[in-house]
Amino acid sequence: MTAGTVLAAENLSASYGPLQALREASFRLGEGEVVALLGANGAGKTTTLRAITGSIVQVTGSLEYTSEAGALSLIGTAPADAARHGIAHVPQGRGTFTDLSVEDNLRVGAMTRRDRGEIEADLDHWFATFPRLKERRRKPAGNLSGGEQQMLAVARAMMMRPRLLLLDEPSLGLAPLVVADLFATLGRLRAELGVTVLLVEQNANIALELADRGYVLEAGRIVLEGTAADLMAKDEIQKAYLGQ
């Protein structure tokens, strides 16, 4: 493994019973990189993220993760342990704690941390970043709009101070303007925080604008990879995702 690699997957496969949803995928995330994972409905994007955090059990291949504490294999770890190793996973559908207040959603994101004072400081930081969340901090998070919930999901994940952030289709179900706003914020965050991001999207255009590199999944296999600029220029991507 090269220095500065956060996650390296080799021949990663994952199944739901008889259905193999991910087939021998190999990919790598460098420290501080934003990597897009693209693909149509059912291509296996969510499955890839679930394999990384251990939310799906039938996983084979190798999955080497390097944290500050050293290298370890993520095969067979439980989701709660992935979080403890610094991997924040915003699931598809945002995973909002709908009955908890907005503030409690953020606090729960910091559950793996013990540094009280710093947690309070981070809370203030995220309320400053997303003033809409601050206005509604005591309201149940389930009452937020879709866009607000996505911002909350990102902030909740960042409250962990993760080393690796996994985002599953943050644009899903949001109006174009809201998506633009969200990605602008993500763009600012990447410069600010230097967290490594694996960004799952069907919306290739907007994902590649943010990402350094990308992989394209088709029926569980990685069929294309390259820098964001290369992928953007590829005919297949243009046809498959950009409707041109």
Binding site: S55, P79, A82, G95, M111, G146
Partner: protein
């Protein structure tokens, strides 16, 4: 009039205890959306533990109660660990069947060890009356159980609202998948709620049978569990304060109906309680205090 007041007080005392047992049901329900049907029999074992310590071995009653609550908490955590944790908390049927099996097993165990002869537990509260209204009187027992129920409720509310474990508990109660992803060890949190529920159940059962008008026997908790479950549903199943309201409503209804409607024999008290339950649920499907869960997007 005096008789009426006396019946109100009786209803409050019994209702407060239904509420405490309901609280232990609600605690586990909030974490897992499941009713632990063995809760009553677990509490029965706790009350027998108090009996063995206090009456059998002459341990101070309050020490015996605290020890029994601690043992129950440990027992609750172990039962969860050994019997419940092996099942996916999202898959309800196997767990419900296990708790039903546990109900029967614990009841049989108590019968084998203690037989069917009723026992007496010394009164936890001073005997006699705190205040008298004419010939009606408010017993220390009634005041005591009401105070204990309310204090338990306040304590639990603070635990859930103000502490880290409380926040984990509320997160698990809301959505298990997301709770795992933020690093919460879900099974541990559910185990803690089993421990707490068991301790509260033992407290409630001991207070229930320590009424000088009642006795401890292996059948005593069946009835209490049914009333407590009804109280929990009445309160909305996921509301702590709702279980107090539900418990008091049922305790009062039972006491007044049996007291005044003479063609209803005492044995039918339970049916009356269930009738109230059905009526309330028709009027308010989420119970008196149940929040219709916020929209899940």
């Amino acid at each position: 009039m005096d008789l009426f007041i006396a019946r109100i007080f009786d209803g409050i005392a019994t209702g407060a205890l239904y509420a405490s047992v309901a609280l232990s049901l609600v605690l586990i329900y909030k974490a897992t959306a499941l009713i632990n049907f063995a809760q009553g029999e677990m509490a029965l074992c706790g009350a027998f533990t108090v009996y063995v310590l206090a009456v059998g071995h002459g341990v101070n009653l309050y020490v015996a109660l605290l020890v029994a609550m601690a043992l129950s908490a440990a027992g609750g955590a172990v039962l969860h660990r050994v019997l419940i944790q092996r099942f996916d908390p999202r898959d309800h049927l196997p767990i419900v069947l296990v708790t039903l099996g546990l109900l029967l097993a614990l009841n049989a165990l108590a019968a084998i060890v203690f037989g069917f002869e009723p026992r007496r537990i010394p009164s936890v509260f001073p005997r006699g009356n705190a205040v008298a209204f004419g010939s009606a009187s408010l017993r220390w027992y009634t005041l005591g159980v009401l105070a204990v129920s309310v204090l338990t409720l306040v304590g639990l509310t603070l635990l859930l609202r103000r502490t880290r474990i409380g926040l984990s508990f509320r997160a698990v109660a809301n959505t298990i998948d997301s709770a795992q992803l933020v690093g919460i060890r879900v099974n541990r949190v559910i185990g803690v709620s089993w421990a707490l529920a068991a301790a509260i159940g033992t407290l409630a059962a001991t207070l229930y049978v320590s009424d000088p008008l009642r006795q401890l026997d292996t059948g005593v908790m069946e009835r209490v569990l049914i009333f407590a479950a009804a109280a929990a549903v009445l309160g909305g199943l996921d509301s702590l304060w709702g279980s107090l309201a539900g418990g008091l409503t049922l305790g009062l209804t039972e006491s007044l109906v049996i007291g005044y409607v003479h063609w209803v024999p005492p044995e039918l008290g339970m049916v009356v309680a269930l009738l109230v339950l059905v009526l309330v649920l028709v009027w308010r499907p989420n119970g008196l205090f149940g929040a219709a869960s916020a929209a899940r997007v």
